[in-house]
Subunit: 254 residues, 4 copies
């Protein structure tokens, strides 16, 4: 049976604040990326979601970001490379322990926001990130948005890599995501998102805005949880994949 993963960022609230519809989304995805308390999330949100995920058989990964709650981790910040190593390690360790407290365990790490862009775009930081993850637990997966770049770096560091495509984002011909500012960068139509996802999953490729097909492993589909349409889009994708014969399960079990 064909298997594929659906992943979603989650636990992005803080104290009384909420972003997204975590509980409803937990019913749809097979893997979550858990904010670790620096750009969003806190010890108790993390704990509750680990427990819920354990109950449902949903895989949990750490989603570390910059220490920047106000900026939601979306701003680049000045840190030394050593600081970045420590920022990654601290958050991954916190998430590991909170998962363990709830009878669960981390399966992967995915860097958030501006830190995620740094990992994807700057080989030195990609290497640094992979090195930290490998040193903490070389059984952890990392996710990679494109077949090349960080995916290769992580593989060289001895890590397992889950390649993911984005359900609601257009790709450029170099295989990278179109920046959010550009027209057409974000796909708001559920049917369009579903159609693209099916085509990329079946074809094991990325399809760019110009229609170009770039062969690529597709282990997981990233859906977003912080827009009003996120939930119906995610459900539509899951339904369509299952109707097409795919089994949705965590990439770590593939």
């Amino acid at each position: 049976m064909k298997t594929i993963d659906l992943n979603c960022d989650m636990g992005e609230g803080y104290g009384a604040y909420e972003i997204g519809q975590d509980d409803a989304m937990l019913e749809v995805v097979s893997t979550i990326n858990l904010a670790c308390g620096f750009h969003a999330g806190d010890f108790s949100i993390m704990s509750r979601l680990c427990r819920e995920a354990a109950t449902r058989g949903v895989a949990v990964g750490a989603h570390p970001g910059y220490p920047d709650l106000w900026g939601f981790g979306r701003r680049k910040m000045a840190f030394s490379d050593a600081d970045l190593e420590n920022i990654f390690a601290y958050q991954i360790g916190a998430a590991q322990a909170v998962a363990r407290l709830n009878g669960h365990m981390l399966t992967h790490v995915k860097a958030h926001g501006a830190l995620g862009h740094l990992v994807a775009d700057e080989p030195r930081i990609g290497e640094l990130f992979a090195r930290v993850v490998a040193r903490l637990d070389d059984a952890l997966f990392v996710t990679s948005m494109t077949p090349r770049g960080f995916g290769d770096i992580a593989a060289r560091a001895g890590l397992r890599v889950a390649h993911e495509i984005y359900a609601d984002r257009a790709y450029m011909d170099d295989g990278r995501l179109m920046p959010r500012g550009q027209p057409g960068a974000v796909i708001h139509d559920a049917q369009e998102a579903v159609r693209r996802v099916l085509e990329m999953a079946e074809g094991r490729c990325i399809i760019t805005a110009t229609g170009k097909r770039i062969p690529a492993p597709v282990d997981s589909i990233c859906v977003h949880g912080d827009s009003p349409q996120a939930l119906p889009i995610a459900r539509a994708i899951r339904d369509a994949l299952e109707a097409a014969g795919w089994r949705i399960q965590p990439f770590c079990r593939a």
Copy 2:
């Protein structure tokens, strides 16, 4: 050969702020309790101290506190029991990972400040704390200030316990520390501190302000790092213990 441990709270700075004389104290003690970024400390201070400790053969434990940088973890705060479990797990996990990143590993956990008082004084919280530590890693030690109370709770939870005495604090006849406000609660004179420590270590007992001797295991001597006299007192204690034939080594290796 008689062995004993010297422990000290450490890494209590934050960003540009410093408290205590961490580097000098690292030369004197055999075990440090590392602030974990909630009441004090940050990812990079933690990382640097783990690396230094690894180099010197100094043992490192997590020293989790309330999320209260302004109050330095000294104020009791309103959290549910579930929140407290998560607060402990998060910080312990963060410290575990930062230690591992630097080729070191955690040997113990000691709760800080108001949270430490809660653990020592409220059996329900002591049990909660021991349960969290045991669940994360049952090879971890916890420290206990008195032979009874939390020490027993932790032992029942299957944890190893390091019993510690305080070099610079007076004891009451019930075996507890005299509250800081009371006259004579803090011992400022190095010679007096040294004399008491030797007597308690040799006698395997706590000596109270009234001269009463309470039999007690003495695995470690806690010295403080945040007063100007802390360093000379700690050095005097180490010198006196070594002169009396004690070998100073981490309690986890005893």
Copy 3:
């Protein structure tokens, strides 16, 4: 013409986080209480709302709370009286300046959450609060939930007092709000809330859960903005008041 004020807490987001429906509520109320960046709110949320309020002729007051973003200012925290004075002054000053930057000015101060309860319930803190407000600007109003208690304290301090009733909360026979935990404490039905508000405004009294009428000045009606029904309830109250011949305007202009 009969005039009355409608007030609402506002600006309770932080960075990317939002609570409530500030923009829609700004169309309904005549006065807002602006979170000042300690328990919620930030410099830019405050600034945007001051500008919007100035444009609409909506009055703005400071809504200072404990420095406790995680707890949303709802937990009592340990601070000295001097600290509390400084906590109030700091936030009020910040709000004054942000209002002035946007061509607006503060009309009142209302303490938030656990700090608000302290002001209402502990005369020493009520006096402290009134003294700070009077010292910063004795033209500022303070709000008071009940005719007695803090209202009297503030008047003695030379401050102008706006007496407010709560649209969605039941009262006890001593004139105080029924604690949230008790059955019937929160009124969820819009028609019920409207009926009560009209009766209390017309009768210049508080009506308790047992039907007792306590004579009281009613300068303002507090509606809440952080529940899903908040907006329709606030609109229904405004419509009913206007239909009954009331003119809605800031209490500071009455």
Copy 4:
């Protein structure tokens, strides 16, 4: 009688943390720049220093910085121009109110750290800063490090400008401070600092590292408080100035 001001950054602690020797320095300087709780400082440190300054006749200004306690305001951060306006206004207002609470009043504003560099180096931000200060209180002074640049911008905005020289920093031939990294940028020798200060004050000029003299108004001498030698250097400067017939008083009273 010739008069001149001595100013120093102050109140840069946070909670239990301290930086510098505020109390001793308060005896030496005539004006302090008060950290406002974003990059350093808190409501109670600010309040205590305002009270002490009021008692001693020392002038107080706001010293706003980036909201970045970890980075001590020394890192450039991504904020929109509107955010920067709000960041300035919020902190200035907070400081105004805390001063007023203590019977004192603000005399000036000086931007801190990376924000100070932005104000000095980017005319658009200099204009923004001057506009915010003028809008809040056009009787406030701003400080300017060099005769040209921000000093002119502020004067055009209708603000009064206090021109300051740095006691312990070398100047380049364009009148700007030599960056800290360069050899000779920081003057550690008290006698050298004293000699330079006297020469620049008497000559009403800046003297550069190459010996060039740039005519400049000299209203105030900035001494630093966060190095171990800061206090003896500041005292030596004050003594030498007084011996040379200068009267030390706040620039706002000149």
